[in-house]
Amino acid sequence: MARMVALALLLFCPSLATAGQTAGASERAHKAAQRQVIVFQAAVSSRTTYSGLHVEVVRLGEDTDVELTDDGSQPGDLAWDGVYTGQMVGDYSRYVNARLVGTKDDGTQDVLFAGMVRTDDRRLDTVGWQVMMTPRGWEALRVPVSYPGKALIVVSGLPLLVAYGWGALLLFYVFLLTKLRGTQP
């Protein structure tokens, strides 16, 4: 049930969900130390053969490896949902140089993404990827927040549906007001 609620929250509002995902221990720790939390997420298709993912990060001149896991050990992570998560906490950094690396069962590694990523927010920033097959092979494409499977498509459309629902509700409300006014002497 908790998983369903969490997933619904993820689907409904990515920003709220992102905030919610780390609103636990890491957020409290951040508040205490006034440090920036950067959350890395990568949604991996079940068709891939990657047994592990990690991000090689250059942040404020320091090289760091961030292991991404999908066992629920990270704050806010849903275990075994296909979204690998990891995070790093440190001094404020406007950007990081990041390389998402996938490790196959045979130990070979693929660089799925390499490039600059903006992390402007001084409190918390989420760096999301969707690992997918492209004509060039497996690549990780940047997304605001990573979602399991094809949920990203739903996420993109859901705010629009909610907005149209809100619009329909308002039209009905104004229609009622119009009718009530019409019956006045």
Binding site: M116, L171, V174
Partner: protein, 568 residues
């Protein structure tokens, strides 16, 4: 309730909405900004540099050693505001626009709906909410073009045109129309275009009803022509009449414009990809205003004045959709009103963001909605009261403003303090190509904004979106290219010194592992060990100081021009 009391409550109400709309900016207006894109950084630079800009609209603080001409700044109003605020702190200007702008704009729209259309308080607040706290206002914050928020000119222009094109129009109404149109133009070229469209809609109405009289028309036309011609003259004197191709301006005019047009989805709602992939373009209309306006023909039968504002809204929506109608991004591609612009690529290269015509739709829909709500509430005010709450939901959730903004510190790496104050800093940045080309613009603008704090001259050009031009790119490519391809070349240091360059700022994290090591080693060979480095202000920056050159400062510009000729 007295008029003063109503106005006080109105301002208090809009101020309360503003605090939520821009949260938490009010807690630290100088120490942070809320923008997600990169345009805010050049605004920060512009406002900080405003006191140094001379009568010829140029500054020596950037574009070193020749200086940079600013005849095409984003906003003359912002420039003027920054100059006005310079005795306190010119860097306050963007924060003033963000914190005062929506309230002033909303108040102007509220007064317009009450004075001209007859909307009654508190329903007239709907007009202010729909305009000052609209989706396009949220887009302005997220993009960083916050000077557009300080736009009471469109509602005031609507009021002036309302009077000017009526049978009771007077000359001073026309002059007021010209003044507000001019201020709109000086706020932003896009707002100026929106104001021109608004004028055309009112003129059409006036001609149709034959209510336009000569004196008010002349009172409007003559000053407006004077200002308009001066503006165009300044613009044409300021450079090429076709925007040079930049990393943001690749492809045909329609392709370029598609990045800045509204879509059917973005008029209704926002989603996270809008901020990461679509430059935060979500001019959501606000369903409360839209629903009320849709019922206007039934509720306002026989009521004069509102149709012209509904027309303004309709034209605004139609124009904001740009050259093609699209569903979410590029799905439908149905040719639309601005489609013929593809025949004029030079002119349309200056019109990349038709979405900004949505200021008109916010104004028009809000004004009509306020009048409809006033009528609906005449008999059952309590039943209509939730409309105000719904409009607040539209402003805060519908636009997503408080959920989408970021808290970005306004700070600079302390390493810059090591650089000599009397000579320039060369920012050494890599060239970003392909779909990450925007990152170079971000880094260029970010390093411009640092100048507001460290006060050293820069080789960067800080206005405009054309990359690949300017001293920073030229000298930086020359230095980095020399180091990375041939290793440090003898004489490079002397050449840099004789351009008046006092320090080279390397941003190592931006480079690949191999380039990073080679650049730092190369710079150390040329300039000696780093004079210092810092990891504060959000970046790792290494500063190498360049020894003073042999040429006097008078030679720096000619030295630069010699190199420029060789390069070109």
């Amino acid at each position: 309730m007295t008029a003063a009391g109503r106005n006080g409550l109105t301002l208090a109400f809009f101020s309360a909405v503003l605090v939520a709309f821009t949260w938490p900016l009010v807690t630290d207006p100088i120490g942070m900004h809320l923008s997600r894109q990169f345009d805010m950084y050049s605004l920060q630079w512009l406002s900080a540099a405003a006191p140094t800009i001379d009568a010829h609209l140029s500054t020596t603080l950037t574009g070193w050693p020749e200086g940079e001409h600013l005849v095409r700044p984003d906003s003359f109003v912002l420039l003027g505001l920054a100059k006005l605020l310079s005795p306190i702190d010119p860097r306050l200007a963007p924060a003033v626009c963000t914190l005062a702008g929506p309230v002033v704009s909303a108040w102007a729209a509220e007064r317009f709906s009450a004075r001209c259309l007859g909307a009654r308080w508190p329903w007239s607040l709907l007009a202010g909410l729909a305009y000052g706290f609209s989706g396009i206002a949220a887009t302005a914050i997220l993009e960083g073009h916050v000077y557009m928020l300080l736009d009471p000119w469109l509602p005031l222009l609507a009021w002036a045109m309302f009077k000017t094109t009526s049978a009771a129009g007077r000359t001073w109404h026309g002059v007021a129309a010209a003044a507000t149109w001019s201020l709109a133009l000086l706020t932003s070229a896009y707002i100026g275009i929106a104001a021109t469209v608004l004028v055309l809609v009112f003129l059409t109405k006036g001609l149709r009803h034959r209510t336009i009289r000569l004196r008010p028309a002349l009172g409007a036309a003559l000053p407006a022509i004077l200002v308009g011609v001066s503006y165009v003259a300044l613009f044409t004197a300021g450079g090429s009449m076709a925007r040079p191709k930049s990393t943001l301006a690749l492809g045909s005019p329609l392709v370029v414009m598609s990045a800045g047009q509204a879509t059917l989805a973005s008029l209704a709602s926002w989603s996270s990809p809008v901020d990461t992939q679509m430059h935060s373009m979500a001019p959501t209309l606000g369903f409360t205003a839209l629903a009320l306006a849709l019922f206007a023909p039934f509720v306002l039968r026989g009521v004069p004045g509102w149709r012209v504002m509904l027309a303004v809204a309709g034209v605004g929506i139609a124009l904001s959709l740009g050259p093609t109608i699209n569903l979410y991004q590029h799905e439908l591609q149905l040719p639309w009103l601005l489609w013929p612009l593809k025949e004029w690529p030079a002119a349309s290269s200056f019109f990349h963001f038709p979405v900004r015509m949505a200021w008109l739709s916010s104004l028009g829909l809000g004004a009509v909605a306020a009048l409809v709500a006033s009528r609906l509430a005449q008999h059952r005010p309590l039943l209509a009261l939730p409309l105000l709450a719904c409009a607040v939901v539209d402003a805060l959730i519908g636009t997503g403003a408080p959920l989408r903004t970021r808290i970005v510190p306004i700070s600079a790496p302390s390493a810059y303090e090591i650089a000599p104050k009397d000579r320039a800093v060369l920012e050494l940045l890599p060239i970003f190509q392909g779909n990450v080309a925007d990152f170079e613009l971000y880094m260029n603008n970010l390093s411009c904004s640092y100048q507001a704090i460290h006060q050293r001259p820069l080789l960067n050009e800080c206005i405009g979106t054309t990359l690949g031009l300017g001293p920073r790119r030229m000298v930086g490519d020359w230095l980095a290219g020399s180091i990375l391809t041939n290793g440090p070349v003898h004489g490079l240091t002397k050449r840099l010194a004789n351009l008046g360059v006092g320090a080279v700022a390397v941003h190592p994290d931006l480079f690949t592992d191999q380039e990073r090591a080679a650049l730092l080693q190369g710079c150390a060979t040329l300039f000696g060990p780093p004079a210092g480095s810092s990891r504060d202000g959000g970046e790792y920056v290494v500063i190498f100081t360049v020894p003073k050159g042999t040429d006097p400062p008078e030679r720096w510009v000619s030295n630069y021009r010699e190199i420029k000729e060789i390069w070109q």
